[in-house]
């Protein structure tokens, strides 16, 4: 992160397109509009590499690209929320626990609401209404946990890292108490066949939802006053406060947003796998933060772009798939993924530094 080598960016740095005097090429490179060119280029390079070294047609097959999109879609949603939070200099380590808790609640409710129904495979309006109620409850639960996180962070002044680490054990613990540590099954097959495995124009529903929501968040971050305030708070909370921004309230909304997105990921998960898995998602919070950082967002707040996050969220899924298709020995896959991640961030920062010294 450039923040380690230069003073914290001031409010002005957060404005989307700073003016530059040098020639057009340099201006383009330096322009924040293109700040994610390298990381995007790297993803393209990775894709080209895999398509060359793997048997023809296996990596770039429709099925494989769909699989990568599916694998990355849940991470993308979390990363999109975390982008807001990191830009505002906050962290949330509890998203994995919220995913688990929301899915447990939704499945339990769904089982209760639909147990009396004769037909849960094709489904009429009544079934869908009941499913929608349970899904709505799952989403609200996610947002509610986000509110808890936000209140604790804002009111207690304890660093968000510690607060959300603690709430993650509490939330996961409660989910374990509630379920006895056992997956909760009984999701109506209709939800899985229609949404979890369903496609629209050949694209799986979970991917469509993930991209639509991320697109919306992209617009909010880049083009609205809400987005501007997020940058301002991360760059300098005191300055933001003096500028009349209700910082606490804004942070509360951001934590709720992240919680809501975690709830949404939980709903996609139960639709895909028809069970609420209590054992999963222990590392997804770090994966999401990693994706956001790879995408060029500063760990210290104040700067970042949704475009980078989108690329960052798909690099791990692309690597995983590519290495399996290359038939790289499983243990080496982990080593290789770690190396590529460090290389990605290094190249990106090297370019930034070069641009900054112009």
């Amino acid at each position: 992160m450039t923040a380690t080598t230069e003073p914290k960016p001031s409010l002005d740095d957060a404005t989307p397109e700073p003016e530059h005097q040098p020639g057009l090429g340099t201006r383009l490179l330096a322009s924040q509009r293109f700040s994610n060119v390298t990381i995007f280029g790297l993803l393209v390079l990775i894709v080209v590499f895999f398509s060359v070294v793997t048997p023809s047609g296996s990596f770039l097959s429709n099925f494989n690209l769909t699989s990568i999109a599916l694998s990355g879609s849940q991470l993308l949603l979390l990363a999109a929320g975390v982008t807001f939070l990191l830009i505002a200099a906050g962290l949330d380590l509890s998203v994995g626990a919220i995913v688990v808790f929301s899915s447990v609640l939704a499945v339990k409710l769904m089982v209760n609401l639909t147990s009396g129904l004769a037909d849960t495979t094709s489904g009429g309006a009544d079934l869908w209404f009941r499913i929608a109620v349970a899904v709505g409850a799952g989403l609200l639960t996610g947002a509610a946990w986000g509110l808890v996180n936000g209140l604790l962070v804002v009111k207690s002044k304890i660093p968000s890292f510690i607060v959300t680490l603690a709430t993650s054990t509490i939330i996961l613990g409660l989910a374990q108490v509630w379920t006895g540590g056992i997956n909760v099954s009984g999701v109506p097959p209709a939800l899985s066949s229609t949404f979890g495995l369903g496609k629209v124009l050949g694209v799986p529903w979970p991917v469509v939802v993930s991209f639509a929501v991320t697109g919306l968040l992209w617009v909010i971050l880049a083009g609205t006053r809400f987005g501007m305030r997020t940058y301002a708070i991360g760059a300098n909370p005191e300055a933001a406060r003096r500028a009349g921004i209700d910082v606490d309230r804004h942070l509360l909304v951001l934590y709720m947003l992240v919680g809501l997105l975690a709830g949404l990921v939980g709903m996609i998960d139960i639709a895909r796998f028809t069970t609420a898995s209590v054992t999963g998602y222990s590392t997804i919070a770090l994966q999401a933060i990693t994706a956001v950082i790879i995408g060029g967002t500063s760990l210290w707040g104040g700067r970042g772009k949704m475009s980078g996050t989108v690329v960052g969220a798909f690099i791990p899924a692309t690597l995983t798939s590519g290495f399996v298709i290359m038939n790289l020995q499983p243990f080496w896959q982990n080593v290789a993924i770690g190396c590529v991640l460090i290389f990605a961030v290094f190249v990106d920062q090297y370019r930034r530094r070069a641009v900054n010294t112009l």
Partner: protein, 333 residues
């Protein structure tokens, strides 16, 4: 240890010291069945994990046998999954002077010393599910034969595929011996079937989504893949999902392990073609019987009691011979 999974999560978080304040009572779950037979025998079971359907079934087997024999039976399970907590619980149980302890060892080496100490104080121990590396530390063991699990899966795969096709493995990241050994059995037995081409193994963590992603990538690499052996619950669900996503449910044979309710549902829908079902009920039942025999001065049990698996398929799932082995559903459902 059969289910590595919440372990990873719980250990990671426990490492961050947030559980340090729990007392022993707080950090354990427990239950008991009233017994009270002629000689007032008391047996306690100490598990190495919180419950899942597999352990629930194991406890049920022990409980029902205890009731039949008219003895007092209770169980404990630590919620913090480290050797220190299990040792502490073991010592507390020993302090109540039971006539025998059934336990599932959290670590095959580290639990040897504390178990020997308890045995030396005159309380016999038998292990279930997870044994220790020193047989003098326990009277007998009752556990699954993980190797047979993998071998039978390979044989079943050969049968379902008519002896020919490319096959792969999806399983948990290595490190859990009782799971790893399933891969050994599978890999070795595949050699016996010349028509089966081994396309290697893929590992994933606890997330079903990650297991599905690895299985999908395997399908991309080997477009004509004919079968997948997935060696634990979430891998089975993930592999079945990947195959379904690829629209190849009819072309690819998925063999899973265990019989949790969600896996059985997938079997009934035909998304999973066979489940290698372990016999936790029998392990629990036989462990109680062995300790009671020992206490009443009857026959000494065999030192090693290994359990094979039964293979559940959509065709035989309703057969009582098979369905008796399906794991119990949690009460909350």
């Amino acid at each position: 240890m059969k289910h590595p999974l919440h372990k990873t999560a719980v250990l990671a978080l426990a490492g961050l010291a947030l559980t340090a304040c729990s007392t022993q009572e707080d950090s354990s779950a427990s239950g008991s069945t009233g017994g009270g037979g002629g000689d007032d025998l008391k047996i306690v079971m100490l598990l190495n994990d919180q419950f899942d359907p597999y352990y629930l079934t194991l406890v049920k087997g022990a409980e029902e046998k205890a009731e039949e024999l008219g003895i007092d039976f209770s169980w404990q399970a630590p919620t913090t999954l480290d050797v220190a907590s299990q040792t502490q619980l073991l010592q507390s149980i020993a302090a109540t002077k039971p006539d025998g302890i059934i336990m599932s060892a959290l670590d095959a080496d580290a639990m040897v010393a504390p178990m020997k100490q308890v045995q030396d104080s005159g309380i016999p121990i038998v292990t279930v599910d997870s044994d220790v590396n020193d047989e003098s530390a326990r009277l007998a063991t009752f556990k699954s034969d993980g190797k047979v699990n993998g071998e039978m899966a390979a044989d079943e795969m050969a049968e379902l595929l008519g002896g020919e096709g490319k096959v792969g493995y999806v399983g948990y990241t290595p490190g859990i011996q009782s799971v790893d050994i399933r891969l050994d059995g599978w890999t070795e037995q595949l050699e016996e079937h010349e028509g089966l081409e081994n396309e290697g193994e893929q590992y994933a963590g606890a997330d079903i989504a990650e297991n599905a992603a690895k299985a999908s990538a395997l399908l991309s690499r080997v477009p004509d893949l004919a079968g997948i052996y997935a060696s634990w619950t979430n891998a089975s669900i993930g592999a079945a999902n990947a195959v379904q996503q690829a629209g190849k449910s009819d072309d690819i044979v998925v063999i899973g392990v265990d019989a949790s309710p969600d896996e059985v549902a997938l079997l009934e829908q035909g998304q999973i073609d066979a489940l290698m079902v372990q016999k936790p009920y029998d392990m629990g039942k036989d462990a109680v019987e062995a300790l009671v025999e020992h206490a009443r001065g009857g026959d000494e049990p065999e030192s090693e009691n290994l359990y094979d698996v039964v293979i559940a398929t959509p065709e035989n799932i309703d057969d009582p011979e098979i369905s008796q082995y399906l794991y119990v559903k949690p009460e909350s459902e």
